[in-house]
Each structure stands twice: as structure tokens, then as C-alpha cells.
């Protein structure tokens, strides 16, 4: 299986603080969950994979491209989808315009932009609000617009940071189905606090703590790590707590 993400020994420092420490990660097609407590480095790892920031050390290849090369980075970004943890938006843009704007910035072929935008908006269930201005939408709807802009170019590498924050249970179920569908053709990396999202949508999961990956396996394997653990409301949560406890002791 081809690896769409190949990170070897990447680290990232902000001043004196090392947020990512020697992360090694290879991810192929499928939905990959990234779990971890606040400050574990999930968002920094995702921003690095999204080429928003460069690693301080280590090597990275994404979809076969070297993101440190400007030409390759530009080509890579055409096949990239990214939903940041905190999604900014232009309040006067309509939903359609916002998604179209990012489709154009991703340099989609002109003829494909219109249908792709309409399709992406439909997939997040906002077809009826395509002409609404962003400032009229609820927080959950804005999150869904963010997902739409991330998937508009049918990305081969999709990076979603807390995608289900603000979504109601029904929307969350729809979202998981969408992510599973996208994971059929490309790589989806989902960073989340919500372990049930991982259990329902991910084929593989990594658990981060203090800037390092401390567990990597399937959701079932994580669940098994929680056997005998009493803290946690679900088997997956018990596995999560168990791994973290083990790491910290």
C-alpha cells in the first residue's frame, strides 16, 4: 500500500518549547484518527502536514511531494484539504462563494469548480443554504462549510482538526459517513478529542502525548489496551486513559 504521509523524525519548536518531538508517521489510504489530550501536539502535527508550518527538523513527504520545495508544495496543495481547529471566515461571503473561493485558491480547473462546489456543499448538508451569507450561519453550520471547503477539491490528503466540534449528533453521524467515504480513495487524518468519532470512523488511530506518538494501532487494539481499566465511559475511552496512564508512569 502506498504511503501518502511519510514523516521521519519531525520535530517542531516554538521558541524554547518543543511541541513535536521526533515524530515518525506513515499513513496510507483510509481514515486515520489522532487522539490526545490538550497540548499533546495534534494541531501542530496537523498544521505541519497541511504545510501551514514547516518542521524544525526531520523529513516529510506528502503524496510523494517534498513540501520544502516551492514547486512541489504548490502541486501538493492542489490535492490537499485542510480544516483548521479555528476556522476563520469572511462574513459577507455566501456559503457558495466561500467554498468557491477556496476551490479557486486550490487551483481547481475552471470548468470543475462550479459543480464541485455544489457537490461539496450538498455533502455537508448545506445545499439549501448555499446562497446564505456566512454571517447568518450557526457555529455548527460554519463548521460544515469549513468541511466543504476542505473536501471541495476531492483531496487525496484530507486533514481535519476537531471537525465535529459544534456539530449536533445527527450531523456527527452524517459526518462520519462522509469521512468513511472519503477514506476509501485517499488519506483522511482526523484530530479529535472525541473517541467515539475514532471508533466509528477510523481504520487506524494514533495517540499523542507531549509531542510524541505513544500509541499506534486500530481502534480495536486501543480498546483492548483498556481491558481492566475502570476510568472511562466506553471501552475506547478506557483504552485511551490506559495508554496515557502507562505513558506517564
Amino acid at each position: 500500500m502506498g504511503m501518502n504521509v511519510r514523516a521521519a523524525g519531525i520535530s517542531r519548536r516554538f521558541g524554547r518549547t518543543e511541541v513535536l518531538a521526533d515524530v515518525n508517521l506513515s499513513v496510507g489510504t483510509g481514515v486515520f484518527g489522532l487522539l490526545g489530550p490538550n497540548g499533546a501536539g495534534k494541531t501542530t502535527l496537523l498544521r505541519t502536514l497541511a504545510t501551514a508550518i514547516e518542521p524544525s527538523a526531520g523529513s516529510l513527504r506528502l503524496l510523494g511531494f517534498d513540501p520544502s520545495d516551492p514547486g512541489e508544495r504548490r502541486a501538493l496543495r492542489r490535492s490537499l484539504g485542510y480544516l483548521p481547529q479555528s476556522l476563520g471566515y469572511y462574513p459577507n461571503f455566501t456559503v457558495f462563494e466561500f467554498v468557491e473561493y477556496f476551490a479557486l485558491l486550490k487551483e481547481m480547473p475552471k470548468g470543475e469548480v462550479g459543480p464541485a462546489v455544489a457537490r461539496a456543499i450538498d455533502r455537508v448538508g448545506l445545499g439549501g443554504r448555499a446562497k446564505s451569507k456566512m454571517k447568518t450561519l450557526s457555529g455548527g453550520m460554519i463548521r460544515r462549510v469549513g468541511i466543504a471547503q476542505a473536501i471541495v477539491n476531492e483531496p487525496t490528503l484530507l486533514l481535519l482538526d476537531e471537525p465535529t466540534a459544534g456539530l449536533d449528533p445527527e450531523q456527527r453521524v452524517s459526518f462520519r459517513a462522509l469521512v468513511r467515504d472519503l477514506g476509501e480513495k485517499g488519506t483522511v487524518v482526523v484530530s479529535t478529542h472525541l473517541v467515539e468519532d475514532v471508533g466509528a470512523a477510523c481504520t487506524e488511530v494514533a495517540l499523542m502525548d507531549a509531542g510524541a506518538i505513544v500509541f499506534r494501532g486500530t481502534p480495536e487494539e486501543l480498546t483492548r489496551r483498556g481491558e481492566g481499566q475502570t476510568v472511562g465511559d466506553s471501552p475506547l475511552e478506557r483504552g485511551y486513559v490506559s495508554v496515557l496512564s502507562g505513558t506517564r508512569t
Binding site: 498544521r47 497541511a50 504545510t51 501551514a52 510523494g64 511531494f65 514547486g71 512541489e72 504548490r74 502541486a75 501538493l76 496543495r77 492542489r78 490535492s79 490537499l80 485542510y82 483548521p84 479555528s86 476556522l87 476563520g88 471566515y89 469572511y90 462574513p91 459577507n92 461571503f93 462563494e97 468557491e100 473561493y101 477556496f102 479557486l104 485558491l105 486550490k106 487551483e107 481547481m108 480547473p109 475552471k110 469548480v113 471547503q149
Partner: protein, 482 residues
Amino acid sequence: MNVNANVNAAVKETREPRAFPGLLRIETRRGVALLLSPFILAAAWWMAWYGTYGSMIEPGFSGAYIWEETSRVVKDSILTTGPLAAGIAAWVAGRNRRRGVGDLLSTTALPGARRELFTWTGAALPFVGIYLGLVVLLGVPTAINATWGTPIFGYILVGLVALLWDSALGFAAGYWLPSRFTAPLVAVALYVAHLLPMGASDYDSGVGLLSPAAYSNMSGADVFHEAPPIAAQQIMLFGGLAAAALASVAVRAGARRAGRISLTVALPVAAGGLVAALMSGNPYGFNAAEAEPVPFEYVCEGGGITVCVHPAYSKLLPETTTAVNRVAEPLVGVIGAPTRAVQIDHYMTPKDFEKGTATFGYVGDEAKFDVAYSLVADEATMEELASTGKEEGFTKEDVRVCGGSPPRRFFSPSYEAQSVVGDWLLARSGGKLPPRGSTGDCPNAEDLIEGFAALDPAERRAWLDENLADLRAGRVSLDDLP
């Protein structure tokens, strides 16, 4: 195809040009500039139109459409639109950081510098539209009504380049200092920056050229003289600064090499324009001694006396002829009285006057005010007497004896006598007398005018026949009046 071949093919693929129209459409449609543009255009048009052609409040208003005037007014609209363009561009430039979209944008394929350039274009384009709209709104009526001349495209170009400079500067300011205060501050600062050089006291220096609307009140180029050449130094200065401002954004947005190359070219161009402007003097300022006269044929109409105007004012000839002849009526047939009145440039010096001919600057009914005094004061003769010293006691004075009166150079002591007769001509034709002073040795002008008006018409005519030539030459004093 192996992996490297796929990568190379993807890298070589260029799609950016296709993105341009779509991005520009969204940027323009959703930008605040487009929303405000009808109001800005209306305000700019109202100020330009009523300050030039639409208002009788304007003393220089003639009722004639003059291409020089239209071209200059279009350029000077930059005073209204420029700071607004800068403020809006600053607001748009800071939005990505204000809205927290920067992280997301930084992961898109289109290079950041080009993205910012599109964003600026979207902010600037409505203002270019406003400017061109103003060209149309003022140019069409001028094209329909003007009887002489052509547009001065140099003026229009200077205004357009300055508008782009304002917008680019605002954008750079907003990009480098993304705060909600940047936009209003940059707009106010640019407004002041445009006004300050206009107040430069030395009209012969090029300091005024640092403002695109410099010397707008001087009307240096008029229908009598060649328009100044295109202010190339202004275009260099504003164009260079605009390019430098955008290049600074490009450098920060990631296009370091292209941005630095642009800066390397733009800054010397701007510096060259600045130096050239400061050293070149003021091409817009009027200098009658240097301005090249424009060849033209007067358009004339007969009456008691023949009235001639510049062809640019030919539509106002009948009205002017009526007004001039209403004033000149008591002098028709008087020995030594002018038989011809011609329009002259407001800024003409006495050497430009023709002996024995009355002159006036403003046309239409306004011509009465000039011609009333010109009928009784032959400035060409008086200038000759004063300059050659042929007549003792003649000294040139720029002060206005007893206040008020025509806005030209007069000579004492003859002036007061000429003023009384001129006032009488003006008053009897229905013209409002200019305000008078009441200090020093100023005689009671009203009494003298009333006394002259109360004379028996035959007696007054006899006095005029005998004395008008001397009065016009400045040889009659108040004591000689009947």
C-alpha cells in the same frame, strides 16, 4: 509512470490564470468598495460637477464646458476618492489576520503573493470604475457642449495613477499593520498628505507636485495657453510608490525574489520622480511669461460695440454681448471710447492688453464687472506710461485704493476717477458694485457716483467726449470730475 514522473508532471501543471477571473469576481462582488461605489461616485460627481459646472456659487463659473476644466476636475477627484480607496484597501488587506483565515489560506496552492495581489485588485478595481465613471459623467456633457479643445489625458492619467498609489499604500499598510484602526488612520493620513503640498507657499517649486491635486485652484492651464506637459514626474513618483508598496507585500507573502526585484526597480523610479518633481518647478502653476499661447481666432458679435470671446466660450457669446453692451451703452459713439471688447485670460499681464480695446475675463453676465472698468481705463496705455516714465506722478500700485474694485493692477492717482465712472457704468447696467473701504483718504465714492449719475445726460456726454480719452489714459483725477 513512476512516482517521480507523476510529481514532475504535477509540479509543471499551471492552473493559476484560470483562477484569476473567478477570484476577482468574488473579491470585487463581496468587497465593501463595490457596495459603496455608487455613493462614492455620486459624491465625487456632485463635488466635481457643482464645483465646476453646476453651481452659480462658483465665481469662475461661466456656463461653458471647457476640456481643461473637466480634465483637471477629474484628476482632482482623487482628493475625495483616494483616501477612501486607501482606507478600504487597508481594511481588506487586514481581513485575513483579523478573521483568522491566514492559516487556512497558507495551505492553498495559489502563491500567497499572487493571492494578495488579486485581493488588492479586487479592492482597487471599484475605485478605478468610479474614476472612469467620473470621466464619463463629466466627459460626456463636455464632449456634447464644448466648442473648443480636447481632453488633457495627462491630467486624467496622473489622477488614475495616484488613485492606484493611494489604494496600494492603504493595502500595504493594512497588510503590515492589520488593525481595525489602520484603515481610518491611513485614510486620514493620505487626505492630509494630499492637502499639505497644495498649501506650499512657493508656487514655483515642485513641492506641490507631491500631491496629485496640487494647484487645483490655480487653473494654470487654460484655453489661452498650452496645457502643461504631462506631469511625468508625478506618474513616476506615484507609480513607483504604488509598485513599491505592492512589492513589499509580495516579499512578506512569500514571493521574496520577485518582490525584491520589483522593489529594486520601483524605488529608484519613485525616487527619480520625487527628485524630478522637486527640481522641476510647478508645471501646473501659471506663469504668463513662460506659458505658450494657444493660437485661436476670436468669435465676435456686433452690437453697440463688438464683443469677442475665445471660441471655447462661443455658446455664451450672445449673453456676453448683451451684458457688455448694457454696460457700454452710454459710451457708444463717445470720442476715445473703445469700439471693441475682447475676452482675455484672467492672468494676463498689462502687456497683453490691446490699446483702445476694452477687455473682460469672465463671460456671460459676469463680464459686466470687468468690462465696466476696462471701458474707462486703458491699461495698455497706462502700463506704457508707467514703464517709460513719460508721465510724472504715475506709479504702479498693487494696492486697491478705497478697497474693492476690479481684480487687476491699477494706477494712482487716476484710478479713483476711473473707478467712479466705472462704478457708474456698472450701477446703471444693474451690476452690483464691489465693496469699498472707508479708511485713509478714501473719498465718499457713493456721493461721487451719485453726483456723476445726476448730471444732465447731455452735459455728461459732453464731458465724456472731452475727457474719456484722458480718463482712459489715467490723466484724470477726482478733482477733474464734473
